[in-house]
Amino acid sequence: MNWFVTIGGIAYNIIIILAVYAWIASRRRHLKEGEEDFILSGRSMPWFAVAATQALTALGGGHINGLSAQSWGTGMATIWYCIGHGIMFMIIMRFAGVWYRRVGAITLNEMFGKMFHPILVPILGAIGATNSWAFITIETQGMATVISGMTGLSNLQGAIIGAAIGILYVFLAGIKEIGYVNLINAMLMYLFGFIALIYVNFTTPAGWAGITATLNDQYYVLLNYLGNGEIIRTYVIGTMLVCAFGMNMSQGNIQSCAAVDSVKVLKKACVAAIPMNVLFGVIILSLGLASLALPDTAVGGNGAAGVVMLTFLYLPSWLQICVIGVFLAAMLSTFAMMTLAFATCVVRDILSPFKKFRNLTPKQQTFWIRFFILFSAISGGLAAVTIQAQVNFGATWSMAWLVPMFWVFVIGMQWKRSGIAAILTLILCWILHVILTFTNLAAVFHLEGNNYSIFMSAASLILMLVFSSLDKNAKEGYRKTYMRQRAAYDARRGGINVAQ
């Protein structure tokens, strides 16, 4: 047990959150910024805050606990999960996110509703909210594990503490708070992560040379950047596909794109987000593999526990606080963004047809967003300690549900828009996904394991192309529709006035 380090790690995060809020509050008083800020930061998020938000939203418990645990099974090849995120950032900030910003959409469900059919708004809103909620639960589990593991508190108590700080991360100032706290955390993550790697070399019995020698002797394949044939087939391909093509359809991952003041902001943000997210995988996987090689951390039984033990056995107290603080920060950032995404989907996409939630003022919208942030945090936190295994399975399983949305979006944007084709494609792909789950169909194609995303990609691409070509009433690609409406808007305003 280590209360000192736990309190230190928690304080690390609370101090950053409150300091950023104080700065934001003082700026707001000075600049008289409005309530719209909460979910879109007044559409003024700078590129570095967008980059940090993109990088850290995608970097949570899945990286901290998931990658360190996975490192014992797939070794360095686990990095392809992170590399897949790099591709996701390209898709979001070079394509999908650009279009959300251009058309003025706030949620991707709203985008699909405009492109194809309004019925998709609540359907995809429900999927988006569920997906976000599952990640809230996973992040809460991660925080509960870290806090309870280090203090002897119960899992529930650890979850409550973690969720409370996570709520603070977003409740005070919404996406603006998230953006700037993420920026500070991104810098500190790398600083303390690299310092930890250096310390491990000097505090472990034989340093990194000894760790590498042990892994070479006993776990050779774990030091292969591509693993082996089995790892490529059952992990690398499916993981890359789901991260690249599924995660870009998660509201939590695109909301910051809607918050920029112009498309050009996304250019710099993308280039920065890629290294900011992907390189952290090297740090956490190196620590995970080191914990496997060292006898006194290998007894932890899994990489996640091993990394925590390594932190306490081989790093000085001040660095333990910083590393645990960084781990919590990674989970908190995802927790915060996912609660905001959940609330945004619920208020704007699911409840907006109801009279009470139509035409909300910015102040009313902020109230309801905050309400559903609390709702999702509390319910997600409870689920984190009561139905952990089910949610974990469901969250991973449901990531492939987002993959068909990407291909439907691509075809609708670039070629033809057919509401019926979109609806049929999505429904049939989701049915296929259920069939894959409950039968041995994947094994027939030698694609068992983490490979439903391959089926989802192939099925959605083929079905959407076929159904769109069969629909005689299919409309022009959304790009053309945008150009037409934009031209009319510019003509009404007397031409384009490009900011210098």
Binding site: R43, V98, A105, D261, I274, V282, R486, I496
Partner: protein
Amino acid sequence: MGFIHTTLPLGFFLITVLVVIIEMIVSLIWWNKWMVHFPEDDIEWDEKDPFIMQVE
């Protein structure tokens, strides 16, 4: 090269940096060569009269 066997953490880091640089280059090529650009992409959000696509 096989499955690219390397050392920890330096070799791992250097290969990943290379992969990241490739991704960054691809993303810039995507921006400059494949992406459609419009003059309004440089215009800041107009709170009073924003452009928001209408349903057709």
